[in-house]
C-alpha cells in the first residue's frame, strides 16, 4: 500500500489547531522522503538486527494446537524484542528519523509504560534527550516501568490533568510539541493521532508482518487467519500490513471486553459501541457520550485501555477486511495461563487478548491450516497485576515481607 495516505476512507486526517499544523506538515515531508531513502531504511534495518533482536521467532505452538484440536497455532514472538514488546520498532524508526531531521529532544506519551520504556531506551542508545509524559494515575500503577525509563536517563513527567491517564499524557505531549517543535520530535506510540502518524507508525511496525510473510512462505504455511490485540492498534496494523490488500488470510482484531458491556467497563470501540468522532487530531471510532465527551474505559491490560482506535483499523473494520472481536479480562487471564502451561510462554496481558481470540478461531480450522497469533509483548511487566489476580495471598505475603525488610 501507499506509504502516505492521510485518510483511510472517511477516517484519519489532520484535525489540529494551527499551532500544530506547521510541525505536522514538516514531519510529513521528512517522513515521505525518508521512506524512499535507502540509507535511512538500511539504518533502521541494521538497528533492528543489532539492537532490537530482529527477526523475532515464529513459533509453532504444537502443544497448544494439540490441546485445542483445531488448526495449527503459530505465535509470532514479538515480545522477544528488546525492552519486551513491539513498541520499540516504531520508537527506533521515529527516533532515527528525528535525528535525521536535526531534532535533539524526544517527547512521548505512555500509558502502561511500554512505549515509554522503548522510547527511553532508544534515546539512550542514540544520544537524544527524552521526556516521557505519563498520567499520575498510571505512574502509581506502573512503578517498575517508571524505574526503567529513569534508568535510561529519561525524565518521566507526571500529568495531573483530566483523568490522569494515557489520553491526558497525549494532550500534554501535544502541548509541549506546539511550542518546542523546532528542536523536539513528538514520538507517538500508536498508529493514531493526526496524519502522518498513523501512516508512519504502520510503516515502522510493518516489519512484524513482513517477517511473518517471509517465514510463512519459507515453511509453506497455509495461513487461514491472523490475530492481534487492538488498543490504538500499532501491533495489529504492523502485523496485518502486508496482507491488507489481499483477500486472505482472515485478519482479526481483539479488543478489550473488560468487565462487561456497560459504559466505562470496557474499551471495545469496533463491536458496536464506538461512534465516529474527531479527537486528539484524527477522525476515527471513539467511545464518547451523547454530548461528545470521552467516557471512561476499562481493561485489565493498560495498553488496551484507550477510548480511540487507529483510523486505518477503523476503516478496515467498516469494510470488513479486519474482523473485530471482544475478549474480556477473565478470558485474557485464562489464555495467559494456558500458554504458560502449554508452551512455556508468558504473554503480556494485551497480547493475551489476541491469544484468547486465537484459540477460539483455531477451533474453526483443522490441522494443516494455520492461525497466527501476534504476541506483541511478553508478560514480565505485568507481574504486579497477574500475580495479584492469580496468586493473591502468596503475592501479598511476598510484598509485605519485602516492605518489612526494606
Amino acid at each position: 500500500m501507499e506509504v502516505y495516505n492521510d485518510y483511510f476512507g472517511q477516517f484519519g486526517g489532520r484535525y489540529v489547531a494551527e499551532n500544530l499544523r506547521g510541525p505536522l506538515d514538516q514531519l510529513e515531508i521528512h517522513f515521505r522522503n525518508a521512506m524512499s531513502d535507502s540509507d535511512f531504511l538500511k539504518e533502521i534495518s541494521d538497528f533492528g538486527k543489532e539492537y532490537i533482536g530482529r527477526p523475532t521467532p515464529l513459533l509453532f505452538a504444537e502443544n497448544a494446537s494439540r490441546a485445542m484440536g483445531g488448526g495449527d497455532i503459530y505465535i509470532k514472538l514479538e515480545g522477544l524484542a528488546n525492552t519486551g514488546a513491539h513498541k520499540i520498532n516504531n520508537a527506533a524508526g521515529q527516533a532515527i528519523l528525528a535525528k535525521k531531521m536535526g531534532k535533539t529532544r524526544i517527547i512521548a506519551e505512555t500509558g502502561a509504560g511500554q512505549h515509554g520504556v522503548a522510547t527511553a531506551a532508544v534515546c539512550a542508545r542514540l544520544g537524544l534527550k527524552c521526556r516521557i509524559y505519563m498520567g499520575s494515575e498510571d505512574i502509581k500503577r506502573q512503578r517498575p516501568n517508571v524505574f526503567l525509563m529513569e534508568m535510561f536517563g529519561a525524565e518521566v513527567f507526571p500529568v495531573d490533568s483530566g483523568s490522569r491517564t494515557l489520553k491526558d499524557a497525549v494532550n500534554e505531549a501535544l502541548r509541549d510539541w506546539a511550542s518546542t517543535s523546532d528542536e523536539t520530535h513528538y514520538l507517538i506510540g500508536s498508529a493514531l493521532g493526526p496524519s502522518p502518524y498513523p501512516d508512519m507508525v504502520r510503516e515502522f511496525q510493518s516489519v512484524i508482518g513482513k517477517e511473518v510473510l517471509m517465514e510463512g512462505e519459507k515453511r509453506s504455511l497455509n495461513v487461514k487467519a491472523m490475530v492481534a490485540c487492538v488498543g490504538g492498534g500499532s501491533n495489529a496494523i504492523g502485523f496485518f500490513e502486508p496482507f491488507i490488500e489481499n483477500e486472505t488470510p482472515r485478519l482479526i482484531g481483539a479488543e478489550a471486553g473488560g468487565l462487561g458491556p456497560e459504559e466505562g467497563k470496557h474499551a471495545a470501540r469496533m463491536t458496536g459501541k464506538g461512534k465516529t468522532g474527531i479527537i486528539q487530531g484524527y477522525k476515527s471510532k471513539f467511545l464518547y457520550d451523547k454530548d461528545g465527551q470521552i467516557v471512561k474505559t476499562h481493561s485489565i491490560s493498560a495498553g488496551l485501555d484507550y477510548p480511540g482506535i487507529g483510523p486505518q483499523l477503523a476503516y478496515l473494520g467498516t469494510t470488513g477486511r479486519v474482523e473485530f472481536t471482544e475478549v474480556n479480562d477473565e478470558e485474557a487471564l485464562e489464555a495467559l495461563r494456558f500458554f504458560a502451561l502449554n508452551e512455556g510462554i508468558i504473554f503480556a496481558l494485551e497480547s493475551a487478548h489476541a491469544g484468547a481470540a486465537g484459540l477460539k478461531i483455531a477451533s474453526e480450522y483443522s490441522p494443516g491450516e494455520a492461525v497466527i497469533i501476534n504476541m506483541s509483548g511478553r508478560g514480565d511487566k505485568d507481574i504486579f497485576i497477574t500475580a495479584k489476580a492469580l496468586q493473591k495471598d502468596k503475592w501479598f505475603e511476598f510484598l509485605n515481607e519485602e516492605t518489612a525488610n526494606g
Binding site: G13, R14, Y15, V16, A17, E18, N19, L20, R21, G22, D25, S161, G162, K167, D168, N171, L174, R175, A178, S179, K275, T276, G277, I278, I279, Q280, G281, K283, F286, Y288, D289, K290, D291, G292, Q293, I294
Partner: protein
C-alpha cells in the same frame, strides 16, 4: 485614554452554570466588546492546563451542550455584545454539524470558533456556516506558513482569531516586531483581528490595540475565577474589575 476593545473568554458551566452567567454579565459591565464562551470538552488540546482544569470541573459537575445553548440564549436576551461559541470538533460531530450550527444560530450566537476544524480539514463546517449565515472564526498562529495564511485571507472571514504566541494558552506573551508585522498583515486585509494567547496586562493591550480590532483575554480570567473561588471572594466582581482595568473603561 480611549477605551480598548476586548474579547473576554469564559468556560460555560464553570464554576457553575449560574455563576458562569453572572461572570459573563460582569465581563460585559466591565466593558467587554465580545464574549468567547467555551463549551467544555474533555480533551481540549489547544488549551493550557488552567482552561483544561476549568473544563474538567464543568463537565464533572454535569455540563451538557443543552445547558451551553440555554446559557447563550439567556445572555443574548440580556446583552447586545456578540457571543462567540468556542469548542472542539467532537462536540460539533456528536450533535451533527448542521444541527450544531442551527442551534448556535437559534440561541443567538454571533460566530463559531472551532480550532481543530481548520479550513482544509473542516468536515464541511465552513460551507454549512456560509449557507446558514453563521460566521466561522479561523484561528491562526504567528509563524503560519504564508500559503496557508493567504488561503485563509481569501476566505474573507469577518473575523480572524490570531494567536500571537506559538504553543498553547496560559503563559504571558512577549510582543515584538514580528508579532506586530504579523498582525498588521492580517489587519490590512480588512478582516477584524482578534488577537490573544497570553494577554494579561494593560501594557500588552495598549501595545496591540493600534494593530488589531480587539484583544482576547482568556487564561488570565480563568485564573482570577479560580483564585476567587479558592479565597472565597466574589468571582464576578473580581472579573468585572479586571476587565474594567484592561479595557480602560475606568
Amino acid at each position: 485614554m480611549a477605551k480598548k476593545k476586548l474579547m473576554t473568554h469564559l468556560v460555560a458551566g464553570y464554576p457553575t452554570l449560574e455563576e458562569s452567567e453572572k461572570i459573563a454579565l460582569a465581563m460585559v459591565s466591565g466593558g467587554s466588546a465580545y464574549l468567547e464562551i467555551q463549551f467544555p470538552f474533555s480533551d481540549p488540546i489547544a488549551d493550557g492546563p488552567l482552561i483544561q482544569g476549568a473544563c474538567t470541573e464543568a463537565i464533572s459537575s454535569g455540563f451538557t451542550q443543552d445547558q451551553g445553548f440555554s446559557l447563550i440564549e439567556r445572555l443574548a436576551e440580556k446583552t447586545d455584545v456578540p457571543l462567540f461559541i468556542m469548542t472542539y470538533a467532537n462536540l460539533v460531530m456528536a450533535m451533527g454539524i448542521q444541527s450544531f450550527v442551527q442551534r448556535s444560530k437559534d440561541s443567538g450566537a454571533a460566530g463559531l470558533i472551532i480550532p481543530d476544524l481548520p479550513y482544509d480539514y473542516d468536515e464541511g463546517l465552513y460551507k454549512i456556516c456560509s449557507e446558514m449565515n453563521m460566521p466561522v472564526i479561523p484561528v491562526l498562529v504567528q509563524g503560519i506558513a504564508d500559503d496557508r495564511l493567504d488561503k485563509i485571507l481569501k476566505l474573507e472571514p469577518e473575523y480572524i482569531y490570531a494567536a500571537i504566541r506559538k504553543g498553547i494558552t496560559g503563559q504571558k506573551s512577549s510582543i515584538d516586531k514580528s508579532t506586530i508585522d504579523f498582525l498588521d498583515k492580517i489587519s490590512r486585509s480588512g478582516i477584524k483581528v482578534l488577537a490573544g494567547f497570553g494577554i494579561r496586562e494593560r501594557d500588552q493591550v495598549n501595545l496591540l490595540s493600534p494593530h488589531i480590532h480587539s484583544s482576547v483575554i482568556g487564561s488570565a480570567l480563568v485564573e482570577i475565577i479560580k483564585n476567587s473561588i479558592e479565597s472565597e471572594e466574589d468571582c464576578s466582581e473580581n472579573v468585572r474589575k479586571f476587565v474594567l482595568d484592561l479595557s480602560g473603561s475606568c
